[in-house]
Amino acid sequence: MKRLELILSRLLWLVPTLIGLGVITFAISHVIPTDPVAILAGENATAEQIAALRTQLGFDRPLPVQLLAYFQDLLRGDMGVSLFSQQPIAEELATRLPATLELTFAAVLLASVLGIPLGVVSALRRNSAIDHALRIVTVSGLAIPSFWLAIQLQYLFAMQIGVAPLNGRIDGFGPEPVTGLMLLDSLLQWDWESFWGALRHIALPAITLALPAAATIARFTRAGVLEVVTSNYVLYERAMGLPGALVTWKYVLRNALISTVTQIGLIFGVLLSGAVVVEAVFDWPGLGAFAVISIIQSDHRAVMGFTLWAGAIFVIVNLIVDVLHTLIDPRSTR
């Protein structure tokens, strides 16, 4: 089984990849001249105080020793604690993951709902006015700077029209966390006020992220549908309304959406490692914001933890995408 072989070999490579990533991140986070100990000690700290603290934290040990210690801890499943909050990194990440996860789900869902129908319509009415108009829309969608769009949406919907909030996930703290996904939690607790609040809050950041994603999805869907229908004229005729249209659609879509699904997977992976800019503009309390603050303060273990998380997501999503490819298209098993 070539497929199994591929999966196994890629899984085996996951370990050295993550180790490599760890080494690189460690190196990166330690060449930064920002001294986390000085930040921790505060504005009024004395030189002796900083030195004492450095020794106490083990930051005066040679770097290779520190790196080794880190990996030893990691093997025991311990990512260490944040220098500033004193909380386990795993917990810090887990605290912020639901916010990022929820935003990612919302954005990908929105993008798919918009992108797939647009792509299908575009393909079926190829070279029509609609196709050209949609082409302009999708090309534009990929060209708008997301931070600029975010700001404009904020002014339009929060300040001018006043239908959406400016920032944040919810007013106050929202429903008691169960899954951490606020929309889901409020539903589980039958708390419609929170649900509505969370929905209003997630709208603008989700739209900002969904727009370029929808453009990508529409383009891939268009290409996929075109490829299937043009390669089989009979199918095209049937899809256009001849008897058995429903069955045909099932066939067309299943084969046409292969690359679309792949793209959705990749977008999901990219957003999961934190949409830094959009999270920053909307004060979204997710992983992206955590990554930025950690690296700014040189909270080494937090930076390492985040990078390993993002790296693992990246590798796994790629692996899944590749495996999907081999399932769908046997030629790509080389």
Partner: protein
Amino acid sequence: MSAPNHGFLAGAADIARRLLRDRAAMVGFTLILLLVLAAIFAPWLATHPNDVYEIHTARRLTPPGAEHWMGTDRMGADIYSRLLFGARITILIAVIAVGTAVLVGVPIGLVAGYYRNWFSDLLMRLSDIFLAVPQIVLAIAIAQTLGPSIENVILALSATYWPFWARLVYAETRSIKNETFVEAAIALGASAPRVMILHILPNIASAIIVRTSIGMGATILTAAALGFLGLGAPPPTPEWGRTIAESREYLPEAWWYALAPGIAIFLVVMGFNLLGDGLRDILDPRIRRGGRGP
């Protein structure tokens, strides 16, 4: 792509003819041309060329008018003039960052794709690792270590972009290596570098060109985002992303502040995307439209 390359010049002329007929690609080409012209002739086109470094605190935040076509910024400098000079920075970042990524990524992809051994695997896993480093983490780290500057934005972008080209070239090389003309060349005793450079590279060039054009647009967006986050060029550099970041504290009252740079970024990125689309249709119909990322 079974035919070996021949008549490269004739091919180029043919491509140009077909591009001219593609209206969308021509729009893209025009936009890019405008960007280049703005960059070259900035000192002559600008109404206040000195405002790149001069300030006039008494004229802060003036709305657009006869004197300042696009208004002034928080230091009283002319936004229109700064926008023109900003085009230079945009080109500089896009060309050098993508150029470096191509120069590093293509050879690695070629070598890894040509040989089938542990070394190929190692190279590709290495590129996976670099691809997995979150760009923002790297960009902030570089900005903190070497100071925020255009050069360091370029460094951060190239460091995270080269694997895209490495992967592309790797896949293309693998698929082309079994073609008859490549096998023939090897059988005739051509050295490995010779096969790679003379036989494989010309035949995968179109894929690289298409990727590069699309990549330019994505690079400009990312660079602007880094400028927006304050990781790019320091003041008084008229970088567009930075201008938008500055404008935030004056919005929506100073509506003109972010408008021009925002539209400028949008048009330039669209230009590269449209051109890239057109090139792809002509050069490499196998690749489907779509895709962000460089």
